[in-house]
Symmetry: C2
Subunit: 267 residues, 2 copies
């Protein structure tokens, strides 16, 4: 029977979900188990249900990033296989979107070679982190930004952000329990910009450790407050100790902005 | 006993509330009653509760605009009186904000002369209406924008918007049951602009009829779709008949942007 693999580009507001997927204690996931999340809705679960209804058989949806509970995505990438090859891709997209809740949407769908894999074909990812830096909290978007009312030194944060760029052992910027033996990662870009009360951190890399971006942002905010200096960042990296870096910024300010995948597969 | 009147500037996301206030069938409200809303939370009720707790006595909070269920505000204006004159205004603001839910916030508080009245001192108001004009629905802000995927003619909508400006009888643009005998209103400005998928309508006036802005926007979208022409707007106004104008745009795209009040009261 013919099988077609599809690559999908997905956006969602993470507020009502317990992350992209359940984290079973077995399987390929090396991090901690979250038994408290079992039975609660996940983004992957909502997609699996909607796609399965449309194609008429159970599908498995594999995502590029296992975003935590409360984390949002503008451009998550995932893939699934279906035998419903007679449905045109755009018709499939519309039918699935009609069955998804209003805070999850498939932005694009593309047929891909079955050597494509949302996890293993990932080349680069970019995350954004939104801080609402104003005396008044963001009443219109309380679940979409982290409110910090204090004055933050933008220049110091920008300088500190640049110190993350490069290939380093990021053990100091990983949540304990991440379960990875190799904590060396490459940060390609780390920046911060302001527009009105919106302070946006951008972090691009080939891959990240568990909660790495949120710990980087929490640390950069400490630099903005004057509690650390930009030149402390290299020392924190060298220490390879989670206790020397800053607090973890909350999940609800984080967005998976885009994922770049290797899709030009040799025939 | 000394009494101080305060003017407050309030922002809120209307999603979880049944509008600014209950609409009792008696009293000064001339519109229809909403018995189904009784007992459900309102923005005014949340403010009343939080302020009363801080000042130590029951207060009445009078708002400039009775926004409908689901409608948001960036700059609602309200006033209340208190005998707790010993609390500095900024301390009052912070204490009340700490007791408010995360989707309501007092942006400013100012002591005013007791001739100030949030309803009767209003000179001008401006509303914004956000349409998400993209093939993909706004998954990150489903409750903060109206999704219209169709191609909309921006020039035609801008021309039609300009036709609303002036002093007219807006009976064709009022929800039946508004209960007003005089339906003449002055629109000072009506415009539309685009930035990416965001289409923002702006309407400024001295006062509006019930759901007038939402019916204007619903009609302008019909112009954008090509179902009406810009020159139909004056004819619709002349007809003084709700049946000739377009559908009412949904509440969740509407924002009360600001209210300008007469605060320079003669001593």
């Amino acid at each position: 029977m013919a099988v077609q693999r599809y690559k999908i580009l997905v956006a969602y507001r993470g507020t009502r979900y317990h992350g992209w997927q359940f984290q079973p204690s077995g399987g390929t996931w090396k991090g901690p188990a979250f038994p408290e999340n079992e039975g609660l809705p996940t983004v992957q679960g909502q997609l699996r249900k909607a796609i399965s209804q449309v194609v008429g058989h159970a599908v498995h949806v594999a995502g590029s990033s296992r975003t935590d509970a409360g984390v949002h995505a503008k451009g998550q990438v995932a893939h699934f296989d279906t035998t419903a090859v007679q449905i045109p891709p755009e018709g499939l997209r519309r039918a699935v979107n009609a069955r998804l809740p209003d805070d999850i949407v498939i932005r694009r769908i593309d047929p891909v070679d079955d050597s494509f894999d949302a996890i293993h074909s990932t080349l680069r990812k970019r995350y954004q982190y939104l801080v609402w830096n104003d005396d008044t909290r963001p009443a219109l978007i309380p679940d979409l930004a982290w409110h910090r009312w204090q004055t933050l030194d933008l220049d110091a944060m920008a300088e500190a952000a640049g110190r993350f760029v490069g290939t380093h052992d990021f053990a100091s910027f990983a949540q304990p329990g991440h379960g990875r033996s190799n904590t060396v990662r490459t940060v390609l870009e780390c920046s911060v910009s302001r527009r009105g009360p919106r302070l946006v951190f951008g972090v691009c890399g080939r891959g990240f450790l568990w909660r790495m971006v949120r710990i980087m942002v929490g640390t950069l905010v400490q630099v903005g407050l004057g509690n650390h200096r930009p030149e402390d960042i290299p020392r924190m990296i060298e220490a390879r100790d989670r206790r020397v870096s800053g607090p973890t910024a909350p999940a609800h300010g984080l967005y998976l902005q885009w994922v770049e995948c290797r899709t030009d597969v040799a025939e």
